[in-house]
């Protein structure tokens, strides 16, 4: 999901260096100036006491959280919103989870077996788990959930695609469920660990599925008490909760009495209301505020990469000029990723030069250093490719036609700062990058019609199968909508990606994924730019905030507020 957010100091090169001053074109100037004043004015934050870490958890209290957007529907099966990663963890449990090392671990399933052919999954479910409406968790409910995800009436934009290979299920006994897949699909368990695939009450699914958006019923540590769309969500703890995954290192009900989540759309306001103490935690702290919050001893700042596809400007290989490998290589060599990333993220973004997040399983570090900034090589490649002419504006031409790249993006008050930067970089070697601003609905249509030269975006998921989703030829939008917006159609890559998703986790998958990552460097389906960051911050009075490895978002099950 695309979003302007941040990035992590975890990786090698991303330490926080100089935060550049605001670069605010046109209409953004006013906001920028005000924001700057706000930052200055906000330096006098509260001087509350800092609770020492490691003390005994305190029970009670409501945690006030600000979020940057609100999905409009709280049923994970029916939405694809980024915020669901965080919101889903409050009310839902999943069949399995990823532990601290990113390995599949028990959750609502105690154990599972995968058949030799990889097509049958037998889950042994945890007993004694109940939904907040009192109904039980069992094999029948697991089946109902899978059906609910793919029921067209759910209008699922994401969950249904994740379980696409699911054919049907058998209820072996009350707590044993057998899922039958059409073909071996190792990402199945990973998908089941994602927030969008949390388990809903079977009673609610069968009796009142239309109410799940506004009143979702899960087995999680909190329940939705009051949902005011576009404004806030009030959660209350479930007193009888007792089935948290082992990696959370806790047991029983949540420490907090509740969580109050409020939509605060403006980044400046999110920052200011955090430092003023109005909120304890913000789910999204804009990069321009990172330095101020980091410098403040009263706050914890987290900057973690989301696994999956990093931020990439993806080329459209199905049409000129990017149907020519040399032009793609030239564009990639023309962009000074380091400089672009540095200024865009105020030093908080981590540049990347491969097509898979470094935090993803099976990331192969040997891809690094291949796609590098080399403007001379870019010029040479374009000369060789025949783009030797220059028009009056200094852009390259071939047979009288200008070397033009059209990049549609969502209309907003300010043109995408990233695209403006790329425009400048590309111009140096003679590309005319045109930013086409259109409304969201039209962008969706352009995308599915393949009417663009390049698109910028990220795609977060907890499985390395993201490479299949993004670059396998079967994911090119045709009769079916897919996410291979680069129209990569490469038999060698297809074979590697198919092998990888069908292999069990292990050396075979690792080898196939490594080869696929290298193959992508040869195809150059885009310019990798920076890791897709999850940037959040919270007051030091909040303790016990855990971070999920499926999605690097705060998990509040055993968080507590120091007095």
């Amino acid at each position: 999901m695309p979003e302007l957010s941040i990035h992590p100091a975890r990786n090698s090169s991303g330490a926080f260096t100089s935060a550049r001053p605001f670069r605010t074109p046109l209409s953004r100037t006013a906001l920028g100036a005000v924001a700057l004043i706000a930052v200055l004015a906000g330096c006098a934050g509260p001087t509350g006491s800092t609770a020492p870490a490691g003390t005994e958890p305190v029970s009670g209290g409501i945690l006030d959280v600000s979020i940057s957007a609100e999905p409009g529907c709280l049923d994970g099966h029916g939405i694809s919103a980024t915020q669901q990663q965080f919101l889903g963890r409050l009310i839902y449990d999943n069949v399995v989870t990823l532990d601290k090392d990113g390995e599949i671990a028990p959750y609502l399933a105690e154990s599972w077996e995968i058949s030799e052919d990889g097509k049958t999954y037998t889950f042994r479910l945890r007993e004694g788990v109940t939904f907040s409406d009192g109904s039980p968790w069992n094999a029948e409910v697991f089946g109902q959930n899978l059906e609910h995800m793919r029921d067209p009436a759910t209008k699922s934009p994401l969950a249904a695609a994740y379980i696409a290979p699911y054919v049907d299920g058998t209820i072996v006994d009350e707590y044993t469920f057998e899922a039958h897949l059409a073909y071996p699909y190792t990402p199945f368990l990973y998908a089941l660990a994602q927030s969008w695939l949390g388990m809903n009450s079977g009673k609610a699914i069968s009796e009142s599925p239309e109410t799940l958006c506004q009143n979702p019923i899960g087995t999680g540590p909190f329940t939705v008490e009051d949902y005011r769309p576009g404004q806030s969500i009030s959660y209350a703890k479930r007193e009888d909760y007792d089935w948290a995954p082992a990696w959370l290192d806790g047991e029983g009900a949540a420490h907090l009495d509740g969580v109050e989540v409020t939509l605060v759309a403006e980044p400046v306001i999110r920052h200011q209301s955090l430092v003023s103490g109005q909120y304890d935690l913000t789910e999204n702290l804009a990069p321009q505020n990172a330095a101020a919050v980091q410098a403040d001893p009263n706050f914890v700042y987290e900057n973690l990469p989301r696994t999956g596809s990093p931020y990439v400007l993806g080329f459209n290989l199905a049409r000129a000029p990017f149907d020519d490998l040399a032009v793609r290589q030239a564009f990639a060599a023309a962009v000074d990723t380091q400089a672009v990333t540095e200024s865009l993220g105020f030093g908080t973004y981590t540049p990347i030069d491969g097509f898979l997040s470094k935090e993803s399983k099976y990331y192969d570090p040997t891809v690094e250093g291949v796609l590098t900034y080399d403007p001379e090589r870019a010029d040479a490649l374009l000369d060789e490719a025949g783009w030797t002419g220059r028009d009056a504006d200094g852009f390259r031409t071939k047979d009288g036609a200008r070397l033009t790249v059209e990049v549609p993006t969502v209309e907003s008050s300010t043109p995408s700062p990233l695209l403006v930067q790329l425009q400048g970089e590309a111009r140096k070697v003679g590309f005319d990058l045109r930013i086409i601003q259109v409304p969201q609905a039209q962008l969706t249509e352009l995308r599915y019609a393949g009417d663009y030269d390049a698109l910028a975006g990220v795609w977060h998921t907890n499985t390395t199968d993201v490479l299949f989703i993004r670059y396998h030829s079967s994911e090119i939008t045709g009769e079916r909508i897919g996410q291979n917006s680069s129209s990569v159609d490469d038999p060698a890559l297809d074979a590697l990606l198919a092998t990888a998703r069908e292999s069990d986790d292990g050396p075979e998958a690792a080898e196939a994924y490594a080869k696929a990552q290298h193959r992508l460097l040869e195809i150059v389906p885009g310019v990798p730019l920076y890791e897709n960051p999850s940037q959040f911050a919270y007051s030091r009075t909040v303790q016990g905030v855990a971070v999920d490895t499926s999605h690097p978002v705060p998990v509040l099950t055993y968080a507590w507020k120091a007095e």
């Binding site: 409009g72 806030s232 209301s273 039209q442 079916r480």
Partner: protein, 310 residues
Amino acid sequence: MAVLRRVVTRLLIGVGVLWGAASLTFLAIHLVPGDTALLILGGPDARPTDEAIAQVRADYLLDQPFVVQYGSYLGNLLQGDLGQSYRLRIPVSEAIGQQIGATAALSAAAVALALPLTFAVAILSAQRAPWIREIVSGIEVVLAATPTFIIGFALLILFSFTLHWFPIGGNQGPAALVLPALTLALAVFGTLSQVLRNELEDVLEQPFILTARSRGLRDLAVRVRHALRHAVIPVLTMSGFVVAALLGGSVVVETLFSRQGIGSLTLASVYNKDLPVIIGIVLLAAAVYVVVNLVIDLLYTLIDPKVVTA
């Protein structure tokens, strides 16, 4: 009886206005390019299945020609059914109902601040020394010309970020209402006060004012009792502007101050091409206009019995 006939006639015209507003909005959104079904299913980054897309098209008649969609919408509307929100997946009436209280409170608070301020400033500054008028008029022009989000930001920086007198946003408690209401009030005040003072200054030139003064009335009494009644009609006429400023301003103010309300619902619905909600809000706005204008017409007669509008 004449009054009743006027009310009925105006209400009938009002129904026509509502029909026109709904139809124009329907057409306008229909003409905006972009596949609504794909947008409902999450936009460019979603992976909807074919079945889900087909279901959405069938549910919302998106696979039907314009005439069928429009006819179906109008038919439902006549039965009082505004349809279901694409985004929130609840009835439009419920979606608007959830938000209307917050916006009504905000608007009422803004009017409660703006009107006394307008009357006080205009009455006290009309026909005063040039330097007073220039300062007051200058402030009014600045306020009238400044976009609402700048006024809001300035108030936030001063009273919330720096002085910490008021919360930075949200719907919790009366304190959270002060800055958003003041933002809207200031935007309305600038224009209204200019109009009222200009009118007052004209009226204060009239012979009957001289007569009143010659009877020994104090200056303030002359202004309030004699001049104001004459000057207030143009201000009433500006009520349409006030309603527009409050409704339009709520979009900006509610977003800036992270408030619930019709404004933020409007913004989210427009971004998501949530047609049923957009038309619902347009109908609500049109209905408010119709009623406000009707009330104003009646007030004209009350203030000056010579005025009789159709």
